[in-house]
């Protein structure tokens, strides 16, 4: 286990852990978004899908714990690397001029913190129902269609999806570099892939809230 500790203690090792755990969440987020789109088909379709996810407690909790552990590792590395990075240049420049860093790259930390806080809210809203006025554990469609009558709720979810878009635009591209894949073969595709994911996932997620708000489904 000494090797694992050395890996974890190094800046490069922690960054690789961020890439791997980030990928776990990217896969989850794609699956989650695709599942949500069933709400466009019919209330029964999404409710049946939600019931399917809960068929087995063992499987459900395996996935939940897996995602939770991945998030803890991701955030733990982020906190430690951020502490390292913020103390590596104690004196600032009078004149700062970014030449290459994209707005997405520069908002990874605060955007990530926002996503984390929003995630807590999101779970209390739609998973446990604590922050939902009319929550049902079986009628998922009812939960969303009640929630997204409110413009404020739609705006909150839209803000989170903008943050997700930024995070993925840099994160997915960066992931390849961190994992060591930067062959000329992947150089262009990884930019396209990151752009596509950063657009398609948030747009996919937002179609349901907007469709409900504008009365297209509901």
């Amino acid at each position: 286990m000494k090797w694992l500790l050395r890996f974890y203690r190094s800046s490069v090792g922690k960054k690789i852990l961020m890439a791997v755990t980030g990928l776990v969440w990217v896969v989850f987020v794609i699956e989650h978004m695709a599942g949500n789109l069933l709400a466009l088909k019919s209330p029964e379709a999404i409710n049946r899908y939600a019931a399917f996810l809960k068929t087995s407690d063992e499987v459900l909790w395996t996935f939940r714990i897996g995602l939770f552990v991945a998030l803890v590792v991701h955030v733990d590395s982020m906190v430690k690397l951020t502490a390292l990075n913020w103390t590596s240049r104690p004196a600032r420049y009078a004149k700062v001029s970014y030449q290459a860093a994209s707005p997405a790259a520069r908002t990874m930390r605060w955007g990530g913190v926002f996503l984390l806080l929003w995630l807590v809210y999101h779970i209390l809203h739609f998973t446990t129902g604590h922050l939902h006025p009319d929550f049902s554990h079986t009628d998922v469609f009812n939960n969303v269609s009640v929630a997204f009558q409110s413009g404020g709720k739609v705006a909150s979810y839209a803000a989170a999806m903008v943050a997700l878009a930024f995070h993925l635009y840099h994160g997915v591209w960066s992931m390849f570099q961190t994992a060591g894949a930067n062959h000329p073969h992947v150089e262009k595709p990884r930019r396209w892939l990151a752009t596509a994911i950063a657009i398609l996932i948030p747009v996919g997620f937002l179609t349901v809230p907007f469709a409900i708000f504008f009365g297209i489904i509901g």
Binding site: S10, S11, Y93, K95, A100, F176, N182
Partner: protein
């Protein structure tokens, strides 16, 4: 041209520093940036003031001694150019130019614009070498190396170790420097035997020197006077991951 310079002055490592404004009149566009500073210094000396201390040696872009963050960019605005090779024609009459030292916790200021970059030497000492048998020179081309591999190694070997990557990185990370050395040596058969040890040792030293981590901003590559490719950092990451898994130390 007439320029106004805002230069970081600091009498010693633990002295407080500040930006001081100087006029630089009659600057010729043919001068290099360092020649312009030489002229400013001549005038300061004539007036009995301390000249501005800055690092330089070859003045032909190969030694890695010169530094300076010029208007927020290490080595100034011209891509792929070290400060000593930057010419005043890059600037316009009436410009204000901010001149600051490379800033990083691992590069403490010695005086004015001079910083101590020996942290890089210590990274090199842990792994920036290969084992060779001494004696007569080996036959040229005794070890076949594909041209494409030699080219990639050579691109990385162009690193002059100036530290602009650290100065440019918002995290003051030394990844591009370390990656250049790891790529330059690890890609060639002569550097293979130490490849695993090298990755572990150099990354460990980099962290011990308190350089920051890489967030793939890409600022290092843009500032690099030798335009070391970002691809080298991917190779470092891959070598480090592999070394962590296979090393028996």
């Amino acid at each position: 041209m007439n320029l106004t310079l805002h230069v970081w002055r600091q009498a010693g490592p633990s002295e407080a520093g500040r930006l001081v404004t100087y006029d630089a009149p009659d600057v010729s566009p043919e001068m290099s940036f360092l020649e312009m500073l030489d002229v400013v210094n001549e005038r300061l000396i004539e007036r009995g003031q301390e000249p501005i201390a800055f690092d330089h040696d070859c003045r032909e872009g190969i030694c890695g001694s010169c530094s300076l963050v010029i208007n927020g960019v290490p080595h100034g605005p011209r891509r792929g150019t070290a400060t000593c090779q930057l010419h005043m024609r890059t600037f316009s009459d009436g410009d204000h130019i901010w001149i600051e030292p490379f800033r990083a916790r691992a590069f403490p200021i010695v005086r004015d614009l001079i910083v101590d970059r020996s942290a890089f030497d210590r990274i090199i000492q842990t792994g920036g070498f290969i084992g060779v048998s001494t004696g007569s020179a080996p036959d040229a081309n005794a070890i076949p190396i594909p041209k494409a591999v030699a080219d990639r190694s050579m691109d990385a070997a162009a690193c002059i170790g100036c530290g602009a990557c650290v100065a440019a990185c918002p995290n003051a990370s030394a990844m591009l420097f370390t990656a250049a050395k790891i790529s330059h040596l690890g890609l060639l058969p002569q550097g293979r035997p130490e490849r695993t040890k090298r990755a572990l040792a150099m990354v460990q030293r980099m962290d011990l020197e308190h350089f920051g981590g890489c967030t793939n901003y890409g600022e290092c590559h843009t500032a690099c006077p030798k335009e070391i490719p970002l691809e080298t950092i991917a190779l470092l990451n891959r070598d480090y991951l592999k070394a962590s898994l296979v090393s028996r130390d």
